[in-house]
Every structure is written in C-alpha cells, then in structure tokens.
C-alpha cells in the first residue's frame, strides 16, 4: 500500500480514530504514525473532530476504588522515582561542570523517559540498549534551572521542544529558539511553547542543520522574522547523542 497518498492517509486516520481500523492494520497504522509527522497531524485532526461527539455522552462517577487503584499504581516508588524533573537538573547551571551535568542530565532523562523517542526511532527503541542517534539540547535560565529539552533524530526532519521547567509567557512578543553554529550566523529553529511540548517540522534533516551547531539559545523577539538573536533568556549546548 502506498502511504504517500494524502487521501489514503486521511482515510486511514479517520478509521483509526473511529476504531474501525482493526487488527494488524491498526498496529501498522500506529507504527506509521510514530514515524510520520503528516500522519500524526491527520490523526490529531480526526481526534479533534470525533472528540467533539463525545460530549453528548452522560458523565457518570465510577466507584472510588478506581482512583485508589490508580493512586496505588502511580505513587509506587518505581513509578515516581525517575520522574523527579527539576531537582536533578539544578546542577546544570554550576559553572563549567554545568555543561557536563547538563548533558548527563539529558542522557539520564532520555534513559528514564525513552518514550520521548517513541514517535521517532522505533528501531533503537526496540533494541532497548542504545539511544537513537540524535541531537539534544538542554536549555537553562541564567540561574541554571532546566527549562527546555530540545531533541531531534540525527536524520529526522522534526524537532521536539519540551518544557521541563515553568516558563512565564512574555507579555508581548514570543520566545524564539535559535541554533548557534561554532562559526557563522545563528538561525531560528522555531518558537517555544508555553507548556507541554511541541513538535515542528524542520526545513532539512537535523544532520544538515545542526551538525555544526554548538549552542542553542532562546530569545524574546517582537518582530515577525528576526534575522539575528536578541538577548538570550535560556541557553544550553547542542550535543550529539552518539
């Protein structure tokens, strides 16, 4: 089957979200979606459409034992420990060691949350031994608090920007993420979400864009298409994960 046909992708996405795509076809579609931003988008759009039909279903309270069971399973040390978020990211700002700590923290986060890559490189996921070859960046504020995790597969064309520390949305303008090569001019990679994470399409592969990039910075910009970065609000190294 040719998955390059947008009409086919649209049809499969609608059947997937409705639930009429079943069995092997359903699993194949999930694998396709994991690797393809266009399929992710088509699916997200159908989830938004069909999700609106759910609101006519009467709400009902389940037994309190449901929450007790969820609590028991989510408060367990094994589930909670690797999710500590901010605390172990703090050393990232400590002077020279901060760079190494930042990279280590990033690697630790990627190991503890390998699902970050579910949408990207299934082969490496399945091997379970090695992280996929990727470009990663951990950006901190001037006090060294972890703010953003930027990741992109080495040969991928999408970039994920995940907010890992609270970000105060600017009163005006927007936060722009820049790539700063060792030599040459900085270029904008995209905007930064206020919370959660955002996936965006890159104009080329990460390898083409980021192989000579050493630093990532976030600046507050007020013009539509700034050509050079202003003052950095967050910054961090761009590291190769291989």
């Amino acid at each position: 089957m040719k998955y390059s046909d947008p009409q086919l992708v649209e049809h499969l996405a609608s059947a997937y979200v409705l639930g009429t795509l079943t069995g092997g076809a359903r699993r194949r579609f999930e694998r396709l979606r994991a690797d393809r931003p266009d399929v992710q988008l088509a699916t997200a759009r159908w989830e938004a459409r069909l999700g609106q039909l759910a609101h006519s279903v009467p709400a009902l309270r389940p037994s309190p034992r449901v929450w007790k069971a969820i609590e028991a399973r989510t408060r367990a040390p094994a589930a909670a420990a690797p999710r500590s978020g901010g605390s172990w990211l703090r050393p990232a700002g400590w002077g020279f060691g901060g760079v190494a700590a930042g990279v280590l923290a990033t690697v630790a986060l990627l190991f503890s949350a390998p699902t970050l890559f579910l949408t990207a490189d299934q082969v490496a996921m399945r091997a379970g031994e090695k992280l996929p070859q990727s470009y990663v960046g951990l950006l901190t504020d001037t006090q060294g608090n972890g703010k953003l995790l930027v990741s992109s597969l080495r040969h991928g064309r999408t970039m994920t920007v995940k907010v890992i520390g609270p970000i105060t949305p600017p009163a005006s303008g927007r936060l722009v993420l820049w790539a700063v090569p060792a030599t040459g001019a900085a270029f904008a990679l995209g905007t930064v979400p206020a919370s959660g994470s955002a996936v965006s399409q890159l104009p080329g592969t990460s390898e083409q864009l980021l192989s000579k990039v050493t630093k990532l910075v976030v600046t507050l910009e007020t013009t539509e298409a700034p050509s050079t970065p202003g003052t950095a609000v967050f910054s961090g190294n761009c590291a190769k994960l291989w």
Binding site: L18, T20, L53, I70, R73
Partner: protein, 200 residues
C-alpha cells in the same frame, strides 16, 4: 482559548513533571466524563472501571507526550484524554471479541446475558447521542442530509466501538454497504465541522 482547558493543560504539564497532586486534579476534573464514555462503549461497569484505571496510569506515565500543538494545530487536553480512553476501550472490546470467538458456549451465553443487562432501556441510543452532539455543535442540519443508515452506522462505531462486521450484523446490512456508509459519514462530519469553522 477556553480558561478551563488552559488550566487542564497546565495541570498536565505539572503531571508530566511528576506532580501527583496535579495528576489527582486532572482525574477529579475529567474522570466522570471519561468514565461515561468508557461505560457507553464497554457496557459494563467493571470493564469500564478497568479501562479508566489503565487510561489514567498511562496518562501519568505519558503526560509529557501531550503536545499542545502538532504541526501548528492546537490540541485540546480533553481531546487527548478522550483519545486515550477510546483507544483503551477499543482494545478491551477487541480483546473481548477474540475471547468470545474462542470461548466455550457456556461462557458465551453468560457474556450475552451481561451485555443485555448492561444497557438498560433508559440509556440513550447511539443515534440519539450522535444527534445530541451534532445539535450542540449546530451541525445537525448538515449531518441530517445524510440518510439515517449512514448516521446510524457512524454512531454505532463511535459510541459503541463496534467494528465494521459488528455494525453490519447489528443493522442487518451488507458489510460493503456499512463500510461505505461509515466512510461517507466521516467525510460529511468533516465538511460539516469545517463549514462551522470547527476542527477543520
């Protein structure tokens, strides 16, 4: 953006950072709606409770994967939560179908009894739910230009999680027709929503 959904988004972001109290608030705010949805699909309280539990354990683990935007498209937190619960419900339904196919006749009969008792006469039909939803979205007129069988098959697939084969059996219609009706129903839903500027 609606203020409620904005804060649900923030609660999900806190959940992703391991804040269990925020996670508890996500549950408190959304579980009754999500449970209603799972119960409607599964027809049995125990099965719906199991699905709700699985869904929230998965939400706790994957809250960091919630993306407020995908390729420039805003994703409401509730849309994301509904998709998780529907997917878990669909998995449970398909697993139940597989079990029934291999079950002994006695177990089969027992299942059939439970199914009959689960959806009482008081619960609205799938078609009623679709009609209420389209009315609330102000696309009822647009959707009603479709024949009843088209809407009925879409409603059964959506609210009861039935497969093409199951919809065909329930409606006593040929499988090929049901597939075409559902496909047309989805296309119409898309164009009706787009004409109202909703989730185009």
């Amino acid at each position: 953006m609606h203020p409620d959904s904005a804060s649900l988004q923030e609660l999900l972001a806190q959940t992703a950072r391991g804040d269990h109290a925020a996670f508890a608030r996500v549950y408190e705010r959304t579980h009754a709606h999500l449970f209603g949805l799972a119960l409607r699909m599964l027809g049995r309280e125990q099965a719906a409770e199991d699905v709700l539990q699985e869904a929230f354990v998965s939400i706790w683990k994957s809250a960091g994967q919630y993306r407020s935007r995908v390729e420039g498209q805003d994703i409401q937190p509730m849309t994301w939560l509904i998709a998780i619960v529907r997917n878990k419900s669909l998995d449970a339904l398909r697993a139940r179908t597989r079990r029934k196919e291999t079950a002994l006749p006695d177990a089969d009969a027992l299942d059939a009894d439970e199914d009959a008792s689960a959806t009482g006469p008081a619960s609205p039909s799938a078609l009623d739910l679709l009609s209420q939803a389209t009315q609330a979205l102000q696309i009822e007129g647009c959707m009603n230009t479709l024949e009843g069988s088209y809407r009925q098959s879409l409603a059964l697939a959506y609210y009861q999680g039935l497969s093409h084969t199951e919809v065909a059996a329930q409606m006593g219609a040929p499988l090929g027709s049901v597939k075409a009706w559902i496909r047309r129903g989805l296309e119409r839903l898309k164009s009706c929503l787009a004409s109202k500027g909703l989730a185009a």
